[in-house]
């Protein structure tokens, strides 16, 4: 049907024959897009007397908001933490490749590195060129030596008298930084948490030996995320649950949610542990890949940050040890594995990869299919295999037939 709009000339696309995730339910509804945003068709009909210019037949697929990965260190041979001449080319390559995993926005993650590495990666929108960059996730160097994981010890730092000044000295600038992971037991860290939150940076707790009290204090100061729950922190103990205790802490200020990242690759977390966390605090669960540069590459030895790692099947170890170096599972693999391991609903599995990370980063127009939100979408079959990815309503990847 011909279009007829009095408000805007931009073309309108109507996605039909789909089951959309809205209000935490899959509903049989059409999805309308104009100028990259999701449109209210009732308003279009009554206010503008308008219709669609194009129709896209989704063939009965599930339509979910595009996935958001807030912890990804690289992939396809690119290591974001490796100082190089052309950083943006590496980010661009990965951003393009992860479209096929359903990721439409992400936070390139930099692990503990010498000061020179904290180069500038710019926040920018996604499109046919690749997933959107929401900002950097700076994991370290203000972390615990005892829980450094794959981070190189010689580059770890503490807060000297200056607190936030030490942080600025390490990073250079906080423009384009979406999130910082730090250990809240470090002296002087609480004021840093407060200051970072004041500046709009999400603060995450991780690579830490903090007890529950110290973690709760950080949450009081504004911390809202836990970096890869269970990994690189003290194990849950019934008399001091440590950071894990935040999932059920009664000291979390009302109206606030503590989110927690989970690497649901079947390796980083035993499915029973995944289920305990999920059942204790389902609304806070955020699926992350924590993918390293080897993701997408064949097995062998590679460099991550300042270290060498070894890939065996789906496992990636610090070379010569059994310390996990990071995962190489893709986001859509994590979504499927999460659903399978926890027995959760399709809606919950999809929200853990889209709505929850968007809520964590306070991005109201992402991670959901509400009217006015960005039309970053994925089409999936009933087994949650990806069929197509869209950014701002435009198809940016489609599964080969």
């Amino acid at each position: 049907m011909p279009s007829n709009k009095s408000v805007s000339d931009a073309p309108i696309t109507q996605f039909v024959n789909c089951r959309i995730l809205r209000g935490s339910r899959l509903q049989r509804e059409d999805l309308w897009v104009r100028s990259g945003s999701i449109l209210d068709p009732e308003k279009l009909f009554f206010d503008e007397q308008g219709y669609a210019d194009d129709r896209v037949d989704c063939e009965g697929s599930i339509m979910a908001p595009g996935f958001i990965d807030v912890q990804i260190n690289g992939g396809y041979g690119v290591d974001f933490s490796e100082a190089s001449e052309d950083v943006s080319a590496g980010v661009s390559l990965v951003s393009k490749k992860i479209l096929q995993h359903g990721v439409t926005s992400f936070c390139p993650t930099l692990v503990t590195s010498p000061a020179a590495v904290y180069h500038k990666v710019k926040v920018h929108d996604g499109g046919a060129h690749g997933a959107g960059v929401l900002g950097l996730h700076l994991e370290g160097p203000f972390i615990s030596a005892e829980k450094k994981g794959a981070h190189p010890e010689r580059f770890l730092r503490t807060f000297q008298a200056g607190g936030i000044d030490d942080l600025m000295a390490a990073y250079g600038s906080l423009d384009n930084v979406a999130m910082v992971t730090l250990a809240p037991e470090l002296a002087g860290s609480q004021s840093v948490v407060r200051e970072l939150c004041r500046r709009g940076v999400t603060v995450s707790l991780g690579h830490s030996v903090a007890n529950l009290s110290q973690a709760e204090e950080a949450v009081d100061q504004g911390a809202s995320f836990i970096t890869h729950l269970f990994n690189a922190m003290l194990p849950f103990h019934h008399r001091d649950p440590g950071i894990v205790g935040l999932l059920t802490s009664d000291r979390v200020p009302s109206g606030r949610t503590v989110f927690y990242g989970m690497i649901a690759d079947g390796i980083h977390t035993n499915p029973a542990a995944l289920r305990i966390a999920h059942r204790a605090h389902p609304e806070g669960l955020v699926l992350v890949t924590d993918a390293i540069m080897a993701m997408g590459l064949p097995p062998g030895r590679r460099t991550l940050g300042q270290q060498v790692i070894e890939i065996q099947g789906l496992h990636a170890y610090v070379a010569g040890t059994k310390t996990l170096s990071g995962s190489i599972a893709t986001m859509d693999t994590c979504v499927r594995h999460f659903k399978h391991a926890t027995g959760c609903s399709v809606e919950e599995a999809l929200e853990a990869a889209s709505l929850h990370p968007a809520q964590l980063l306070r991005l109201h127009h992402k991670g959901n299919l509400d009217y006015g939100s960005d039309a970053d979408l994925v089409l999936l079959d009933d087994d949650l295999n990806l069929k197509a990815t869209f950014i701002s309503g435009e198809e940016v990847w489609k599964k080969a037939p």
């Binding site: 049907m1 009732e42 308003k43 009554f46 007397q49 308008g50």
Partner: protein, 281 residues
């Protein structure tokens, strides 16, 4: 001279009544052969009664049997003061139950605006739009438990036109189920077509289903024309069809029901087959 008829169609249950009515409407539109210079004007109701009928019409559209491209619709009523995008507004109802599923053009749909600055002017303009469209070919309506058509509550003038009405207590109570059961949330006024407005239509189809409507149906067709039961006005309309389920006939005389049921084999010819005319232009 066109036929002057009153038909009472009795089907076994709600689904069958909805289907019969939808087929009747579909066939009327097809036989009319609407086109770019020749629109079929349809009056439409809201509420739970017509929902099954709308579902069937949508099915016939999806099966390619009918197009609404050259159909103009005029709804009977709308609440006053309810935001247009409120889930219980009649605009929302029509969008969700009907318009969004078919190929009707927005400019061919007409629903009274309960938020107009000048409600009287809005009502007068609505009457003019109906006149400009050439009058209504077929007005589909329902009946309230108090025998009202649209919001023409008991005591309404039988020659009334589109106007502002204060809702009767019965109606507010009946509608409370759509407002969380909270009487205070139900709108107390509405804009409605008048009894006279619907009487002007060439043909009227009234859908009545459920035992709770039985007494109103009895009053409407077995008692006299009376402004306390405004649907009774259609006893004087040249072409009326009442489509009911068994439960709605519970208060009628057995003789009445048997008489009309005996004619079903004739009446069913109106819906049995698709008229063989070109469906799309």
């Amino acid at each position: 001279m066109s036929p002057r008829t009153m038909k009472l169609i009795v089907l076994n249950d709600y689904e069958q009544a909805s289907e019969w009515a939808a087929k009747y409407i579909r066939n009327k539109i097809l036989l009319f052969r609407p086109g770019p210079d020749r629109f079929f004007t349809l009056g439409l109701p809201t509420g739970s009664t017509p929902m099954g009928c709308y579902k069937k019409l949508i099915e016939y559209y999806e099966m390619g049997q009918i197009s609404f491209q050259y159909v103009k619709t005029f709804n009977m009523d709308e609440y006053v003061g309810l935001p247009r995008d409120h889930p219980e507004s009649y605009h929302s109802f029509m969008w969700n139950q009907f318009f969004k599923h078919i190929d009707i053009k927005a400019e061919n749909t007409h629903i009274l605006d309960g938020n107009a600055a000048d409600l009287q002017a809005e009502c007068a303009a609505f009457e003019e739009k109906i006149t400009a469209a050439g009058g209504i070919e077929l007005f589909v309506g329902g009946i309230g438990p108090d025998g009202h058509i649209a919001f023409n509550e008991p005591g309404s003038s039988l020659v009334s036109r589109t106007r502002v009405k204060t809702l009767a207590k019965d109606t507010i109570v009946a509608n409370a189920r759509f407002f969380d059961g909270d009487l205070s949330k139900v709108p107390t006024m509405a804009l409605t077509v008048g009894v006279g407005t619907v009487m002007d239509a060439k043909e009227v189809l009234i859908l009545i289903t459920g035992a709770h409507k039985a007494f109103a149906l009895y009053k409407a067709i077995e008692e006299g024309v009376n402004h306390m039961w405004t649907v009774s006005a259609f006893q004087q309309h040249p072409q009326t069809v009442f489509v009911c389920d068994e439960d709605a006939t519970l208060e009628l005389r057995v003789k009445t029901v048997k008489y009309f049921k005996g004619m079903m084999h004739v009446h069913n010819r109106l819906v049995e087959t698709l008229p063989s005319v070109p469906k799309k232009n």
